[in-house]
């Protein structure tokens, strides 16, 4: 099976004054269709950088990111006429909207996949809003929503688009306990029904319990169970030093 999202030795650095800090250090992993992977990391462990790199928003310093079978940095995305990867990103505050007066149902509806008729796009959007228990907000304008509601609506938008790769950035920050469960369940459901590859990044280890695969992010590196040797003690990790300056 081909991977929808793959990282091969991806490194990303950040400039802090004259210092260069390596935020992601040679990460390699693959995400197959229908798979939900949860990455758990503490604050400042590089979670948002990982999310933005996986969504094709940050170019890697070295290594390769492949999204939906394409390399998002192969050519300048503005000049390229090549098909764009179908990726959706849900950020921790639900992201910004240009038209703040627009109703929720219109925001979600316009995300429906291409060649969907108006009526079925609306029903698709309504179903997604119902699944996330925010159907009562359908007629409210975006600017009236609270943080919690914005996150849930943004997730409904992303799920309506039926992307090949979905990346979520620490959604539980804005959500309560029950909603975290709901979001986890919806993501799992989306992975199995839409065959989407989902990367869920979170701070809470309890959110990861809905995932197929779990990895821990620390010091720019991922600790993942080694699949080559199931049931045996894992291979030794390369030991990172505390100096992350490249």
């Amino acid at each position: 099976m081909t991977a929808e999202l793959s990282f091969v030795n991806v490194s990303v650095s950040r400039h802090d004054g004259s210092r260069v800090i390596r935020v992601l250090d040679r990460l390699s992993f693959e995400l197959e269709p229908g798979q939900l992977i949860a990455v758990c990391g503490q604050r400042r462990s590089g979670k948002t950088t990982l999310v933005r790199t996986a969504a094709g928003l940050i170019p890697p310093d070295s290594g390769q990111v492949r999204l939906d079978g394409l390399d998002p940095w192969a050519r300048s995305p503005l000049l390229s006429r090549a098909p764009k990867p179908r990726v959706a990103l849900v950020s921790e505050d639900g992201g910004r909207r240009r038209w703040k007066r627009r109703r929720v149902i219109d925001l979600v509806r316009r995300r429906a996949p291409a060649r969907t008729s108006g009526r079925s796009a609306r029903s698709l959007a309504m179903r997604q809003l119902q699944e996330l228990e925010v159907a009562h907000l359908a007629e409210s304008p975006w600017r009236d929503l609270g943080l919690r509601e914005r996150v849930l609506v943004a997730l409904a938008e992303a799920l309506t688009a039926q992307p090949r790769v979905l990346v979520t950035d620490n959604l539980s920050l804005a959500l309560g306990m029950g909603e975290r469960d709901l979001v986890g369940h919806c993501l799992r459901h989306a992975a199995s029904t839409n065959e989407a590859a989902i990367l869920m990044v979170t701070e809470n280890v309890t959110d990861t319990l809905n995932a197929h695969k779990i990895a821990l992010l620390g010091d720019g590196k991922l600790v993942m169970p080694d699949e080559r040797m199931p049931g045996q003690a894992g291979t030794v990790l390369r030991l990172p030093s505390r100096e992350r300056s490249a």
């Binding site: 695969k213 049931g231 291979t235 990790l237």
Partner: protein, 239 residues
């Protein structure tokens, strides 16, 4: 008689907890090697030192049953506690000796009654009272003792590379266990729990996950600190 019985309950339980049938790691008889289940449990002793006695008593009070059935029910209820089926039989024996359970023969399960007769265990009045007393007494938190942590206490500088390797292995084992914890759940059970049993089960799962996370964080920190130490000082020099 009733008053005497009541005053003697804490005493009996006090003795019982001292003599608890705490189960060691199950070993293969022949090779003296740890079974895979024990190896797994040995890496993360979430439940070391807690007796299965009260769990078995609780199960019998809920519904009488025979040994194998009880072992299966215990496995279903407390799957992450790492208790072996043999422990259930030992607990049943102890409880019967104490008078908390009484045995009752039953005819074979097949229609002709020819299958092997089973001993059905039922809780006695004393057993139920003891269980209630256990439920209402205050329980002490137990320290978590891990083999690796003890090794660190006695390690010299030449041992550091080996220990770093072991730390790396244990980190991966923790992540694998976390994954197993997540995948043990059916999709239908993922939604909001409604009954008390489901809620408690979910809480237990979250507890297991948090314990594993704490372990991984500590291991990561230990790895970094020891690596720094090993790099600062050439190996083989003992202070």
């Amino acid at each position: 008689v009733v008053v005497r019985l009541h005053t003697s309950i804490p005493l009996i339980i006090g003795i019982a907890t001292v003599n608890t049938t705490t189960f060691g790691w199950p070993r293969c008889r022949r090779s003296r090697e740890l079974l895979p289940s024990a190896r797994r449990a040995a890496t993360t002793q979430v439940v070391a030192g807690v007796s299965a006695k009260h769990a078995v008593l609780g199960l019998v009070i809920e519904r009488p049953g025979y040994g194998y059935q009880l072992a299966q029910r215990l496995q279903e209820r407390c799957s992450t506690w790492g208790w072996e089926p043999t422990g259930v039989y030992r607990a049943l024996e102890t409880l019967s000796k104490e008078g908390s359970l009484r045995q009752q023969g039953e005819k074979g399960s097949s229609e002709s009654g020819r299958a092997a007769p089973r001993l059905i265990y039922r809780a006695t009045h004393v057993g139920e009272e003891r269980f209630q007393a256990w439920m209402s007494e205050r329980s002490k938190p137990r320290p978590q003792r891990q083999d690796l942590d003890l090794k660190l206490l006695f390690a010299g500088p030449p041992d550091i590379p080996v220990l770093l390797e072991q730390i790396g292995c244990e980190e991966q084992t923790c992540v694998r266990e976390l994954t197993a914890l997540a995948n043990a759940l059916e999709d239908s059970q993922r939604m909001r729990p409604t009954t008390l049993r489901d809620v408690v089960r979910k809480l237990h799962r979250e507890r297991d996950a948090l314990v594993l996370e704490a372990r991984v964080r500590w291991l990561g920190n230990a790895r970094l600190t020891l690596t720094e130490l090993a790099e600062a000082r050439p190996p083989g020099t003992r202070t």
